[in-house]
């Protein structure tokens, strides 16, 4: 078993789709809060397989999309320092800041390197002791433990030329805010990889408080369809609960070793989310005991005033109350080659997915 093809089996997909059609009666709006799900749903054409009364909506699940422009401006300001090497995941390269982007700064000779892992950034720090290496920490609970591990390794190795700029965020406050802000949904497709770390208990407040189900889903077509099926059953029986479809990797208790790393290095703080505003206790700041590695604390540089494009409706798209097609910039002033909003930049952004997998008039 290689855990990919088995979950893309055509016959099984068809039978699962039939099963959903057979059992689903009530109209339903399901929100996926993981950008990976957004991409997979479009890539595998899931909406075209579902009955018309089941609607899938994309939520704020792409770390790049929800991140503040100020974070990019911050990174750009670092990159303009002569002795700084920026290390980042490829995702951030094209994201527009207030007046520039990392891609543009790179073209203007800033030393910006794309890494696959924070471990690669540590290697760069080892090889360039006279430079300051700033790693851009983005992502949810899935990615944050790796960043924590990186910071601890830097400390153990005495790599005091290594810094992290953290924009890490945690998912539950956003899921709560979506419901509180009145976005009409009937259930959540729970983020599979976030939950691999956190476990399922952190979602229990959703059925308890909001009477809404959460099914933690994998990313292959069969996973997603089975999760939708589980949500349909909950909805038809009016018995919302937290269930794990992605049981081959998600344990109810999560991954305690990863959680320990995260708790050791980070602490919760209020954080700004595109579309949702400031959410209490939703961001991860580096704790004082690791302040030596905190780029926010160790650099004192001026950052330009943040400017957002007013016509961009990324915020509403992220909240699931507007479709990318509702935006007057979409496909015209804002395309994957020349993005205005963050949702168009990220591969998993709702706008990029919509653009890439858009329907033509002929279809």
């Amino acid at each position: 078993m290689q855990y990919i093809d088995e979950f893309r089996d055509r016959e099984k997909i068809i039978s699962l789709v039939n099963r959903i059609r057979f059992e689903s009666r009530k109209p339903m709006r399901i929100m996926e809060v993981c950008g990976g799900h957004t991409m997979a749903i479009h890539r595998f054409g899931i909406p075209s397989l579902l009955p018309g009364h089941i609607q899938l909506i994309s939520g704020p699940g792409c770390p790049v999309c929800v991140t503040d422009r100020r974070f990019i401006d911050h990174a750009i300001a670092f990159s303009r320092q002569p002795d700084v090497i920026i290390t980042t995941y490829g995702d951030l390269i094209k994201v527009p800041g207030s007046s520039s982007s990392l891609e543009r700064e790179k073209a203007a000779r800033a030393d910006i390197r794309i890494v696959y892992s924070i471990l690669d950034a540590l290697t760069i720090a080892k090889k360039n002791r006279r430079k300051k290496i700033v790693f851009l920490g983005i992502g949810f609970e899935t990615t944050a433990p790796g960043t924590a591990a990186g910071i601890i390794k830097a400390q153990m190795a005495g790599l005091f030329n290594f810094y992290v700029l953290s924009a890490h965020k945690v998912m539950p406050p956003a899921m709560s805010a979506i419901i509180q802000q009145g976005v009409p949904i009937n259930g959540y497709l729970g983020p599979g990889h976030v939950s691999t770390i956190t476990g399922s208990a952190m979602y229990e407040f959703i059925p308890d408080k909001y009477n809404m189900g959460v099914v933690i889903s994998g990313f292959e077509p069969l996973d997603i369809l089975q999760s939708i099926y589980m949500l349909v059953r909950q909805h038809e029986a009016n018995q919302p609960k937290v269930e794990i479809q992605y049981s081959r990797v998600v344990r109810p208790e999560g991954n305690s070793q990863a959680l320990e790393l995260m708790n050791e290095v980070f602490e919760l703080r209020d954080d700004w989310w595109r579309g949702l505003g400031v959410l209490p206790q939703s961001g991860l700041a580096i704790q004082q005991k690791y302040a030596d590695f905190d780029a926010e604390k160790q650099f004192n540089i001026e950052i330009e005033p943040t400017r957002e494009d007013k016509a961009c409706i990324c915020g509403d798209v992220l909240k699931g109350i507007a479709s990318p097609a509702d935006c007057r910039l979409f496909g015209k002033a804002c395309t994957p080659t020349d993005p205005v909003g963050a949702c168009m930049v990220s591969n998993e952004g709702a706008c990029a997915a919509f653009f890439r997998y858009r329907k033509t008039a002929a279809e």
Binding site: Y3, S15, A149
Partner: protein, 89 residues
């Protein structure tokens, strides 16, 4: 999200492991999954150079078996439909 892929452990040296993703070899840290007792041949979920969890073959089979049941159910429906059609000519 989090682009994570299933990878097969080929060899382990200390905290690091060589893993195979469809024949491409990638080095990854096992530090978050040491409690799972990972061995060569096991599958793990990889993300940004770290194994996040051991993949449970048992649980994967549970899911796949469930899909098989759906398939059987469908076949039964198909047959019933066929039988109906024959009956009503």
């Amino acid at each position: 999200m989090c682009l994570s892929v299933p990878a097969k452990i080929l060899s382990i040296e200390g905290e690091m492991a060589q893993c195979s993703v469809g024949g491409a070899i990638v080095e990854a840290s096992l530090q978050m999954v040491t409690a799972e007792g990972i061995e060569p041949g096991d599958y793990v979920l990889l993300h940004t150079g770290f194994a996040l969890q051991k993949i449970s073959e048992e649980e994967a089979h549970v899911s796949l078996n469930l899909f098989n049941e759906f398939e059987d159910f469908n076949k039964r429906l198909d047959e019933e439909e066929k039988a109906d059609r024959q009956y009503f000519g």
